[in-house]
């Protein structure tokens, strides 16, 4: 078999892997997409318990306005049929503080947010305006988010950067406002103290416009991807993990699967957690320095999760998300010794769609911070086969979470808990070796891996590479494909999509 006959292999059937497979197929590659779980898109697909559907990966996304970046990427991928639906325009994010009578209700749109927050914090109105204008400018300055510019080097390796905490703490003394302006760090799982402000702006900036979710949830997005992959003749292999990457002097030449099949490869795009890559490569394929760096990357925040059902409408999560801050400030949530009792909580409910998901089947999810170290003694156990001691510990954690949550949010007292998740659950379901919700951290304290590697036909994509979340995963796929097919060529094609 010559290299021209070999397919291009993509490891990991999440958003990044599926998006990259579609891009490569569009440029004429024969593509094999490999996912170790039984179905593609395990994270965004979610799951159901007792007839109630839960979204584990997709809660809300931004940048979906008609000329928004995600609209354009999805249009390029042939996913324009996904039924996106607006969150509540007057309040897409509700933020509750234990010691404040009224919830903060963030509206959609930069100027609307500035007006709203300036009304509540009149002494800080100049800072509020400058903060959101800075976010918008930094967001627009990225070639991946604003198609007027160029795709450019994503590293910023050589510039000294300010943290989000630094910008916010310099700008205002008000502890509530500081929390409001940094709350979205929970959506990428890195403390404001170590998040480069530019990185924050490029994630949080997407929530200024086009804030939507998918009617029917992540499984609808997953099946749109699946349909498109089938139309594009991408070969999907699910249910058997890659156990080794085969390599010779010229680069990667194939992968070995758990079921002992060998898939030849002309090139390889790796989209799983970066710490898995060195374990698949033979000795000598990469330098010890690179291997050690990938293995020592710190993960984003993990969580305890309650999966609940509720038969009736709850106005505080009606077309919006709810953040519950038990303490002002959120830095504590990211520390290794974070306590469940200190919050914050993030609550999301799938927007009911009477055709697809009636109210009583529309699951409600409550996230609280968690650390996998607390579960160290059960690290060897697998989901479904955990020891009794773990189950008792988990039950206590879940009961405690519910008790504290209801104390601050009594309007939820009719919810029924159907299941719970710990950092170990995240590890096993999200393919995250340390239970991190958003891959490895994009932090001032570590260097994120780049799409290109020293092996000429091996590339990396996924939340850990360029940026987290659905938008970040999609962008990382496009950047990696830009290296493979030619950046200019890909950008020219993208500019044609509206």
């Amino acid at each position: 078999m010559t290299s021209a006959d070999k397919p291009f292999v993509v490891i990991g059937g999440g958003i990044s892997g599926m998006a990259a497979a579609l891009v490569l197929a569009k440029f004429g590659f024969s593509v094999v997409l490999i996912e170790k779980r039984k179905q593609l898109a395990p994270t965004i697909r979610g799951f159901s318990r007792q007839g109630t559907n839960f979204d584990t990966g997709l809660h809300y996304v931004g940048g979906l306005q008609p000329d928004g970046p995600l609209t354009r990427y999805f249009s390029f991928l042939g996913l324009s049929d996904v039924p996106f639906t607006n969150l509540c325009q007057n309040c897409f994010d509700r933020i509750r503080f234990a010691d404040r009578a009224e919830d903060i209700q963030l509206p959609v749109g930069r100027d609307a947010i500035i007006d709203y927050l300036s009304g509540i914090f009149p002494d800080d109105r100049h800072f509020i305006s400058s903060y959101y204008h800075q976010i918008q400018n930094l967001f627009d300055s990225s070639g991946f988010l604003n198609f007027k510019g160029n795709f450019r080097d994503a590293t910023n390796a050589a510039c000294k950067q300010e943290s989000l905490a630094c910008v916010v703490d310099k700008g205002t003394q008000n502890p509530i406002l500081r929390t409001v302006l940094s709350i979205h760090s929970l959506l990428y799982g890195v403390s404001p103290e170590e998040t480069p402000f530019i990185q924050h702006a490029r994630v949080a900036g997407s929530y200024l416009e086009g804030v939507k979710t998918v009617a029917g949830g992540g499984k609808i997005l997953a099946s749109s991807f699946e349909n498109q992959l089938a139309k594009s003749d991408v070969t999907c292999s699910c249910g058997s993990a890659v156990t080794a990457i085969s390599y010779d002097h010229a680069g990667v030449n194939g992968v070995v699967l758990e079921d002992e099949r060998f898939v030849p490869a002309a090139g390889l795009l790796f989209t799983a957690h970066p710490s898995i890559l060195p374990k698949l490569l033979p000795d000598g394929a990469i330098k010890p320095a690179f291997s050690r760096r990938l293995l020592s990357l710190e993960d984003t925040i993990s969580s305890h999760t309650l999966f609940c059902s509720c038969d009736s409408e709850i106005p505080s999560v009606q077309g919006n998300n709810l953040f519950v801050c038990l303490k002002t400030g959120i830095y504590h949530a990211f520390r290794p010794d974070c306590r469940l009792d200190d919050g914050p909580f993030y609550v999301s409910r799938r927007v009911p769609d009477n055709l697809v998901t009636p109210m009583n089947q529309s699951g409600l999810i409550i996230f609280a911070p968690g650390n996998i170290r607390e579960y160290g003694e059960w690290a060897d156990s697998k989901t479904g086969q955990r020891p009794e001691a773990y189950r008792i510990f988990k039950r206590r954690r879940m009961e405690r979470l519910l008790e504290i949550f209801l104390r601050h949010c009594p309007e939820f007292k009719k919810i029924r808990v159907l299941d719970g998740g710990t950092p170990l659950t995240n590890r096993d379901y999200l393919g995250a070796p340390l239970g991190g919700l958003y891959g490895t951290k994009h932090s001032l304290n570590q260097f994120s891996p780049l799409p290109a590697t020293k092996i000429p036909n091996l590339w990396m994509a996924g939340q850990s590479i360029i940026a987290p979340g659905i938008l970040g995963a999609v962008i990382s796929a496009f950047v990696a494909c830009g290296f493979i097919v030619g950046m200019e060529k890909l950008q020219a094609e993208l500019r044609k999509c509206i």
Binding site: A157, K287, F290, L450
Partner: protein, 87 residues
């Protein structure tokens, strides 16, 4: 730690982590041309040095001017002096 010890420690760490021949390493050795380290390796080099010396180097703009092993020593010694000043 003396300056000489620092240089030795840096050589040992870089040789081990990049599989280099330590006998070929001297202050004039060019990272790119002689050792074959490119921009992708620079980031790994920073992490190797951080771990060897237990200091945070991070995304330091001065790194862009590092071309030879001599520049690497100078960079680390400057870091060390800066740290001593703080202490």
């Amino acid at each position: 730690m003396t300056d000489q010890e620092i240089v030795q420690k840096a050589y040992t760490a870089l040789a081990q982590e990049f599989e280099l021949d330590i006998s070929q390493m001297n202050p004039e050795t060019r990272l790119r041309e002689d050792l074959g380290l490119d921009s992708l390796d620079y980031v790994d080099m920073v992490v190797v040095l951080e771990q060897a010396f237990g200091v945070k180097i991070g995304k330091d703009p001065e790194l862009t001017s590092v071309r030879t092993l001599g520049d690497v020593h100078e960079f680390i010694l400057n870091k060390k002096r800066a740290l001593e000043k703080i202490q």
